[in-house]
Amino acid sequence: MISKKVNSVSEATEGIGDDMTFMFGGFGLSGIPENAISALVKSGVKGLTCISNNAGVDDFGLGLLLHQRQIKKMISSYVGENDEFERQMLSGELDVELIPQGTLAERCRAAQAGFPAFYTPAGYGTEVAEGKETREFDGKMYVLENAFKADYGFVKAWKGDEAGNLIFKGTARNFNPNMCGAAKITVAEVEELVPVGTLDPNQIHIPGIFVQRIFQGEKYEKRIEQRTVRTKNE
């Protein structure tokens, strides 16, 4: 067994520096690497390019890095629900590249799978396709999109083992599996780090080969963005 285990979040984030490109798993606040984000906030690294579907909220998730002006550029598909983000974007302090959500996922997966680029119908005829190569296949138009290149990928899983094998839970899975192995170094944090041999190999979502460092997060707030419930008599 090749061990990927590191003993702390600071060991997990070793080597990070200014002006790097980072990937972050998560959809909204669900499945975000909370502990890695906290460590990055503490580290003070700046000039970052961040690839993440969303940008957190004002006081949680990537909003914490935005608040400290550590992010130079965001590559996302949806960035509502964040006033500080909007302010920085409209004032021009923050560079923002908005791309279709499926394209974001596939640019991660392409990087993971060794494809330099792929054609997608998403965004054809819109400003997203401006300056990009387009091509017709069977009468339909497609846009050429490149694989991402990133220095670190920070992902969060439910369970993992020392070998780096990961299992995700619910919709907290989202972009996390697609980002594993898509950056030079994939850092996985898990709610529960179990001994090797404990996880059923049939149930592994991401094999440890895609993960370079794994650690158990100290704590998880798992904040809910839109708490919606019904009452028993409904």
Binding site: F27, S30, C108, T126, P177, T228, V229
Partner: protein, 217 residues
């Protein structure tokens, strides 16, 4: 004239047995509440769930189980979770039968704009560009006019596009319309709404053929 619930109820009639359906945020989300109970339908949410159920009971919310609107949800028997690339494989690969989404503007050639108002609002397209570029069957749910009373059914979209020539059907508070090569064909009127009312609220080419029936909800 219909309210938002009325629009959702009318669209629910378009949902057929065996359909996999993706619902956008806003009015489309309401559609799930009005689908006939004697048919089998599965709702997909692009953040990674198929087989979405109703909102959880109070105290049973799970931060790890949400929809694309980031609302807490439940799952039904037979549901599955998956990653984002797989989710958009379902969408781009045309495995989803029906997409229902909102819009700021629709043009008579089927163009749609719903993600950006330059200089004012830039929230992003989320999964909308993937959905409209891929789906065979797209229904737009929206009010016929904006808050200033201006038509949202236009000759040409004024806002940045989400997709080109992709909308097939539109259900508004006033009417059901089909996008044809010649323009918006009026299929049904909302209760109490005249053809003239619809004409006045439609900037794009409106095609009226014969007697236009009132919709049944």
């Amino acid at each position: 004239m219909l309210d938002k619930t009325g629009i959702a109820k009318r669209i629910a009639k378009e949902v057929q047995d065996g359909y996999y359906v993706n619902l956008g945020i806003g009015i489309p989300t309401l559609v799930a509440n009005y689908v006939r109970e004697d048919i089998e339908v599965e709702f997909q949410s692009e953040n990674g769930v198929l087989g979405m159920g109703p909102f959880p009971f109070e105290g049973e919310e799970d931060a790890d189980v949400i929809n694309a609107g980031k609302q807490t949800i439940t799952t039904l028997p037979g549901a599955s979770f998956f990653d984002s690339a797989t989710s958009f494989s379902m969408i781009r690969g045309q495995h989803v039968d029906l997409t229902i989404l909102g819009a700021m503007e629709v043009a008579e050639n089927g163009d749609i704009a719903n993600w950006k108002i330059p200089g004012r609002m830039v929230k992003g397209m989320g999964g909308a560009m993937d959905l409209v570029a891929s789906a065979e069957n797209i229904i737009v749910a929206m009010m016929h006019t904006n808050k200033r009373g201006e038509s949202k059914l236009l000759k040409k979209c004024s806002l940045p596009l989400t997709g080109v020539g992709c909308v097939k059907k539109i259900v508004t508070n006033l009417a059901v319309l089909e996008v044809t090569e010649k323009g918006f064909k009026l299929l049904e009127r909302a209760p109490g709404v005249s053809v003239e009312d619809i004409q006045n609220a439609t900037e794009g080419e409106l095609i009226v053929e014969g007697n236009v029936p009132e919709m049944i909800i």
